[in-house]
Symmetry: C2
């Protein structure tokens, strides 16, 4: 398939940021998780996030856990901890609805054309695609993920885009693994897929 | 409703980050958008993001646009621009599937118990909740959003949690507006809702 690209975003590159928005910060992405312990293990042990903040809302039946990269020391003081969390870009807010941890299988639709969370078993055209983590070496990071038993939906040499990967978190959300500079490829990846291998483009855009 | 919180995350606060993950960075959240021009206007003009990077994939029928806070100057050089993008935390990757801009109404399920994107019109238990932007003054930011015609799903004094708000982007995704320090409240918000007002807790956890 080849389509005509009808939109030219060039003018947006030179747009001035409105003065009132200068201190605005993209601080969080919220996703619902079935089992907070499984998710915190994954996000801290596998992906290297730090737990920055947690709050329980027993009156409303849920708890939230903010995890972030780039933080070495979490302050003891509650207000300081909250402030640090609210001024750290790119936190992930893991939301646990109490009681969900007991259910079988995945319970939340991931956004990526799966049928989880529907009443008729039909796939949904979802909007959320993935979270993306950049790393110094995609192949080395994926070797480590593979040794730790992390499932892949695309290894670095799989599919049509070479040098990036998609792994799955405990709820099935896709996590893209990308380089911090140019796209670099290696002859063999963690799943022993050669660079010339991969079964066509596995597209996460749809 | 009041539930028992059965999980104590305390041990996770003192967990050491695995050495291999030290340079990992939560760089992106990907969401699909119907109309890239409408979305870029919203994310740059209303929320103050900067367009950092864009790539067209006509062979696969989609384009992506990375927007970020905290960047003043976007380099001219393509490689430098890409590198800056991949090392900027908290980017949003807006993904446009070519041709979607012509459809009526919302086309992607937002994750928040809506029926968009289903084949039977039933709501979906979605996993993605929202993006969250922190700002110096939630009430002032919301006054500005309101004047710019942005729809609210919760104004700062609406619902049960006072001092934070949820607005909607052009595809209906929720954007939470939060303070960069302590939660502060004011007697009246942009929708003229008094602090004692609001019709119970409008919960985005479910």
């Amino acid at each position: 398939m080849s389509t005509l690209v009808t939109f030219d975003p060039t003018p947006f590159f030179s747009k001035q940021q409105p003065a009132e928005t200068k201190p605005f910060m993209m601080q969080q992405t919220m996703i619902r998780v079935k089992d907070p312990e499984a998710s915190l293990k994954f996000y801290t042990e596998i992906l290297g996030f730090k737990l920055l903040m947690h709050r329980d809302f027993p009156q409303w039946g849920f708890s939230v856990y903010f995890v972030a990269h780039g933080v070495d020391v979490v302050p003891e003081d509650h207000d300081e901890r909250w402030k640090l969390c609210m001024t750290t870009p790119g936190c992930v807010e893991l939301t646990w609805n109490h009681g969900s941890e007991g259910t079988e299988g995945n319970m939340y639709n991931t956004g990526n054309a799966d049928a989880t969370g529907t009443s008729n078993g039909e796939k949904v055209k979802g909007g959320f695609g993935h979270l993306g983590i950049t790393v110094p070496d995609v192949y080395e990071a994926c070797d480590r993920f593979h040794k730790m038993g992390v499932p892949f939906s695309k290894s670095p040499n799989g599919g049509g885009m070479k040098g990036l990967a998609f792994i799955k978190d405990p709820d099935g959300y896709l996590i893209e693994i990308l380089p911090q500079g140019r796209m670099i490829t290696k002859p063999i990846d963690c799943l022993d897929t050669p660079l010339e291998g991969g079964a066509g483009y596995k597209d996460n855009s749809k």
